[in-house]
Symmetry: C2
Subunit: 862 residues, 2 copies
């Protein structure tokens, strides 16, 4: 027969699936000889059976609980509900995956009108006993019986009012008795049934409530969002209560085996004497540093240090532990792997290798790649941050922290920075014209656009803090006003952005500078050793490329040529090209661009010194290069000697209802072959000059005929210039391109998955407009994460898989990569490794993250 | 050994693959005893070998040609190049598929400086001989040797100038000899080689040229566009020349075994005495009706009538024939199935069944479904039309013809029609607000938008002529001007539209009214007998539904509820809903809509009398319901008592960069569940009242969670109202929906493929913007046809196939249909039949076309 209840001494840490995380660790500690208050765990399988039996504990489970309880009573020499020395227990949920705060807990179980007196007698502390009792009734009423929290508040308030006191602590024993009585009434009137005096009944009801909380709404949504789907239920831990608030020889604390902020190998923790766990957390009294416990109780301190040393060695990871001292006796209530900052994670991993505690593989697997952001970007001072409430939250578009004066215009951003100011550029959305201002600003805030909007992509490229798509921020650029809720800001006002969370704050919050330690370098070396995928970067300028090379990029996976088109003379020439009335005029204008483009490529090739460089031909719709504002139109009309009317007509002509699905990508090259011609010429001339072997990428191909058309032009130019070493491939970013990859691979030498567009089209989500519903979608669990942030493996991933299969079918040695923004996101990188891509390409500051993620993927796949 | 050359008497009509269409029919006629000038055919396989051998005829083919030529000379008693009675031949291409005008032809081959004298002697007509010679040199020089046409023109002009005459016919023998001499010089100077005098050399060069023309650019593009990919090459026909221009006992003509315009079973044709084929076509002399030939030459006429009777009986189809009379002797040069109008096709097919010439199956297969448009819609008078040049051509968005005065505004269209005018609505693009004006106008012209733009879809629904996406038409609605090239129009000017071709004409062109004959009804009955798919209609109003029922629709496949939202009080209520500040206000506004929606559904259900009705929940983004023009915004501000500022803010808030990929479809229902709630209530209340079993369709589902969310709301309302008979399904229109169809089918009882959106997203083509490049794409052969017109089977079709497979895998009895605009397009209907859909749904006027196409698909698949 299946066993549904395990005493702590019967389990171990590997039984997480059966006992849940908390139960398994309590068992492990018990077996290791760590002093743990005795208890037992009801298994996750029992939870499953509970649901199968229609939300009831069946007789065989009840019998096992009974049997185990009797043994516990005998071990403790106490009895549930006893009138002189009652056994009190806690009932806590604990699933195999961490679901913090999602399920319910009941403490002090076993108290009733009789045992409360027993507890008073035993502890000699009547107030403590009655306070414990009223807390238990409240918790039980709330969690188990479903009485509104508010009913208890009201009862407590009424007693305090009658007495005329402000704090709970001002109530004496009689007052507390009054509270207990009112609490019982509250339950009676809310539920029509009385608070159960039978401790067994209390226990069974509590276990059922905890099992029931497994399927409450927030738990279901939490599991859906965190993709926890394989678990059958939660376990329940029944554990003898110990009290840290039984006087000055009692206490409670939390501690870490190493410093979780810095990673330093030094014991770190806090405690409070005569207190309960919640007091340490609540912050009403200031806890003391763990070292001072040595003076307080040298024996206990020594014991704690020994236990933490053993636990860390045993678990081979930094431990986060909770302990309680009850009248001088030490108990450990929990141990688990401790959360840590990015720098701490790196330092600990490297230190533990040096201490021969873990292997290099384990070290690489242990650091969350996203945590590296904290080593690469400024952070808000974590302590200072807790003192500020965020005004609102947008999308965490590019990590880092920024503090500066608001400006609403890119030109002014540039000018003010030249005057020595530090500014944050605040705009509804950004466009390529804003590049200079974005570059000058320390941070960017937009009210529209998603994780792959212009602002987000460019900011990530620059390694600059950006909060995008912040719908609550009402921005009026003309009137220079930013309104968030009831707060209004204008030019010159200070705000602070947290790019890692998307939070926006009023005023200035201190910032912590990042530092790259030697530990980071060593970890990266190990990552390089284990990973099998190459890491390239998305870089449009020699400067970006240099940054990426420093971070270890092995090539350029995406150079967006249009980003080169916005400076000075270039934008003029491109506008002339757009406004030209025939092919001859167009060629003339393109000829002016040729030397610029060529110089750009020479620059890139020189920086990359023979590493592969993939250059994408012109991609955006032409209207992106035309001005939008009236004033600028006038200005340009003068510069280009074209009437305002004609200019407006052209703008109107080029207007598109859905530009993302419009005249762009290779569709431009098909209708204006001279653009492809000019760009190919610039690339090949630069290649001749530098000896580079360029990879030319045709964007937005949905049919092989489009590709053939463009390839013919490119090959023609190569032949004319006598260039022989080059590759021609395509982006797979239109669903039809993926579906017909077998045909396209007949012609294309490489595929690069453009997952931004592929996501847009596969899901039908405009990256510029999803801000309106994606947050709600993620909240409701329709999508686990923003699909522009983490690759949608089920949908988009399926198309990638189809394209990889079909592509290799036709051309077994086809080179495959990804250059969408997902290329630097760990779960997406793991997917890329799984489907067998040759490389991922990401923005320069993401290169280390991609490397680490690639190494982890390779190790996991072994 | 493979045989590469067949004498006509060795082949037959079933050898089309080997001998090409022309060769097979010449052979068939020869075998039937029809007088055909003797000759032979070089096979398509020889063409294939020609290319494999590097564009050269190999020795074994040359030997076969030689052998066959000797036999021909002996049959004819003539010799190539003979100085007294030379054999002259034609060299014509002829592939297995019709490729009109795509490949080359050489006539009068065999003439040289010697045989021209022989021909003069033999015919006693020296001028005829030299004129034939100079025509041959010109044709040979152009087609075979690649001398620019212009060089020959120049030579001819110079002789005419010297002589001082205007027409070729004014040149005498000596002039023609001069022309021949100049032609030979032209060849020499253009090519550096002389015109070949050896007739054998002429022949071989001509055959090679015809084979070579198989792969000229226009032939390749023609094949790509017409999806002709399985052929290996063209055949070449060598045939003895006969001349209809050898005097008054000679002549030439074309004739049809039945009237190709009306279908009447009456001999129909034209001829000219003393003329060549090209004279009949050129229209310089007016040809005579075929009956008058009886007076001219009763014997020959009788012979022609006998032959045409035999040929029609033999081929069991109306024949289009060419004949030549040479000095009283009749020759047939060609026979093939004749092209016919829609009404003629129907009449002939039905007549031939009555004549027991063909079976009902054959009759159904013989009529091009698209040709039924000519029976259902007005047509431009075909004769009158030839007298007008189109100003420009847009997309043929909805068939029919329209003549009317231009108006630029929907309100004015309505008003002017009430005043008794006939108007054409001319707009950049239309929006749902224009419905009334569109309904009043006889035709619609837009400058933007594709085959599935608002104007196109609505016009097709109304059965109204529409030319959409006419980029050349510059429309300024404010200034009331329409400019096409150099032509300017304003309000009140007349224009004419041909919706079947997309042509736009100045002024008025006579129009032919459609008539539905009893033959049509019989053909439809037969189609119903053979088809296996059901035909439903897309109808939003009882009126549309009635029209469709008349055409035989078997249900409604798509009722777009939002089309009900634009009239009077409704649009006010929906605007109130959009402007509401919280859920309560929103529910209040929705409650106002409820009675309207319910009444709509009651109306629909009553018309449909128990036939299935699929109702799609609200689909378009909410901004479509808000006004765009300043004036209207002011007006609405007053009506709704909302400030203009607030209204503008809401419009700005709802603005989307790519609305097609934005907040629409079930995404609306997810964020505003009360909309789904109201619509479900209206549907179920109407169902209760009428006893209908509604099918509720959730639009734009990309993930099963979206569907579950909406289904829960719908089921909730059904339970509340005690309705039990209904189905809930989804549109598959987002690629991800197709890719995850297995999961979605767990919840959805039916799928309807929304191929408009599925095409947009799979190809990345905005239906509103493709006008800018789709025409060029089709012209360049990237796509065979506009993918919004004919389903892209390779790409979109692959997703449909995946969804069908996956859907049936989870739910074997899932009901599958299509409700995109492709549902009425024959090749798409055939595809739907092939993948096993249960029904197609199309606009009411397309129902007969869909029925016929479905019957053909079922017959072909047998």
């Amino acid at each position: 027969m299946e066993k549904f209840v395990y005493a702590f001494e019967e389990g171990n840490k590997d039984m997480v699936e059966v006992l849940g995380g908390k139960g398994a660790n309590l068992a492990e500690m018990t077996v290791l000889g760590v002093p743990v208050p005795p208890g037992f765990t009801i298994t996750t399988a029992a939870c499953d059976v509970f649901y199968k039996d229609g939300k009831k504990l069946n007789d065989s489970i009840l019998a096992e609980i009974d049997e185990r309880l009797v043994k516990l009573e005998s071990v403790m020499g106490q009895k549930l509900g006893d009138d002189s020395d009652p056994l009190l227990v806690s009932v806590r949920s604990g699933a195999a995956a961490s679901m913090p705060g999602m399920m319910d807990t009941v403490l002090n179980l076993g108290l009733n009108d009789i045992s409360v007196e027993g507890l008073a007698k035993k502890t000699g502390n009547e107030r403590f006993a009655w306070d414990s009792y009223r807390r238990f009734i409240q918790m039980f009423g709330d969690v188990v019986m479903g009485v509104p929290h508010h009913d208890f508040e009201e009862a407590l308030e009424s007693v305090k009012n009658t007495k005329g006191v402000e704090f709970d602590t001002d109530l004496d024993v009689n007052d507390l008795k009054e509270v207990v009585s009112k609490y019982k009434d509250a339950i009676q009137s809310a539920k029509g049934t009385s608070f159960p005096q039978n401790p067994k009944e209390q226990l069974i009801m509590s276990v059922e409530a905890v099992f029931g909380s497994w399927n409450n709404d927030r738990a279901i949504i939490y599991r859906r969002i965190n993709n926890i789907s394989s678990l059958v239920g939660t376990a329940v831990n029944i554990q003898t209560m110990v009290f840290g608030n039984m006087g000055e020889t009692s206490g409670t604390g939390v501690c870490f085996s190493r410093n979780p902020s810095t990673g330093e190998n030094k014991f770190y923790g806090e405690y409070l004497m005569n207190a309960q766990g919640e007091d340490v957390v609540a912050g009403i009294r200031t806890p003391k540093s763990i070292e001072t416990l040595e003076e307080q109780n040298a024996e206990v301190y020594k014991q704690i240090v020994e236990i933490k040393d053993n636990l860390e060695k045993h678990y081979k990871d930094m431990q986060d532990m909770e302990f309680t001292i009850q009248e001088g006796k030490l108990y450990f209530l929990q141990t688990r792997a401790g959360k840590r900052t990015g720098p701490a994670a790196v330092k600990m991993a490297v230190d533990m290798v040096d201490e021969t505690l873990i292997s290099k593989e384990e070290a690489v697997l242990r650091v969350d790649p996203e945590a590296l952001n904290q080593l690469l970007h400024k952070q808000l001072d974590p302590v200072a941050k807790t003192e500020h409430d965020a005004l609102t939250k947008g999308l965490p578009a590019s990590p880092g922290a920024a503090v500066g004066e608001i400006v609403f215009n890119a030109i002014e951003a540039r000018d003010q920075v030249q005057e020595g100011k530090t500014v944050i550029l605040v705009r509804t959305e950004t466009s390529p014209e804003d590049i200079e201002g974005m570059n000058a600003a320390v941070g960017i805030l937009t009210s529209r656009g998603g994780m792959t909007s212009h602002a987000a992509v460019v900011a990530r490229g620059m390694g600059k803090c950006c909060v995008a798509g912040c719908g609550d921020a009402k921005i009026n650029e003309k009137e220079k006003s930013l309104v968030i809720g009831d707060n209004s800001f204008t030019e010159g006002d200070f705000i602070t952005l947290d790019g890692a969370t998307g939070e926006v704050f009023e005023g200035k919050i201190p910032v912590v500078e990042p530092t790259l330690s030697g530990d980071f370098g060593r970890l990266m070396e190990w990552a390089d050793e284990f990973r099998t995928m190459k890491i390239r970067t998305n870089a449009d300028t020699p400067h970006d490329a240099e940054t990426a090379i420093k971070f270890g990029a092995e090539g350029i996976g995406l150079c967006r040529t249009e980003h080169m088109f916005f400076e000075g003379e270039r934008i003029k020439a491109i506008r002339e090209m757009i406004l030209s009335k025939n092919v001859e005029e167009r060629k003339l204008a393109l000829n002016k661009l040729l030397p610029f483009q060529k110089a750009d490529f020479v620059g890139l090739f020189n920086v990359m010194k023979g590493k592969p460089v993939t250059i994408r031909l012109l991609d955006p719709p032409l209207h992106e290069f035309l001005p939008k504002e009236e004033e600028e139109i006038k200005e340009i009309s003068t510069t280009l000697n074209v009437s305002v009317e004609e200019l407006n007509k052209k703008i109107e002509d080029l207007h598109e209802v859905n530009p993302m699905l419009g005249h762009r990508g290779c569709r431009l090259g098909l209708t204006y072959p001279e653009i492809t011609e000019m760009q190919s010429r610039a690339i090949f001339e630069a290649a001749k000059e530098t000896g580079a072997v360029p990879e030319i990428m045709v964007p937005l191909v949905g049919d092989v005929e489009e590709f053939k058309n463009q390839k013919a032009i490119i090959v023609g130019v190569a032949k004319e210039l006598g260039v022989e070493a080059y590759k021609i491939g395509t982006m797979i970013e239109v669903p039809r391109g993926a579906l017909t990859a077998d045909t396209i691979a007949k012609e294309a030498e490489f595929f690069s998955f453009g997952t931004n567009d592929l996501t847009q089209m596969t899901l039908g989500f405009s990256r510029d407009d999803v801000g309106k519903f994606i947050p709600e979608y993620v909240e409701k669990g329709v999508y686990e994460r923003d699909p522009f942030q983490a690759l949608d493996q089920e949908g988009v991933g399926q198309l990638i898989f189809i394209a990889v299969e079909k592509g290799r079918q036709t051309r077994p040695d086809i080179k495959l990569g990804i250059c969408g923004e997902h290329g630097g996101e760990p779960s997406s990188v793991e997917f890329c490794n799984k489907v067998g891509l040759n490389y991922v390409s990401c923005s320069p500051f993401r290169v280390p993250i991609a490397k680490l993620a690639a190494a982890q993927a390779a190790l996991k796949q072994k």
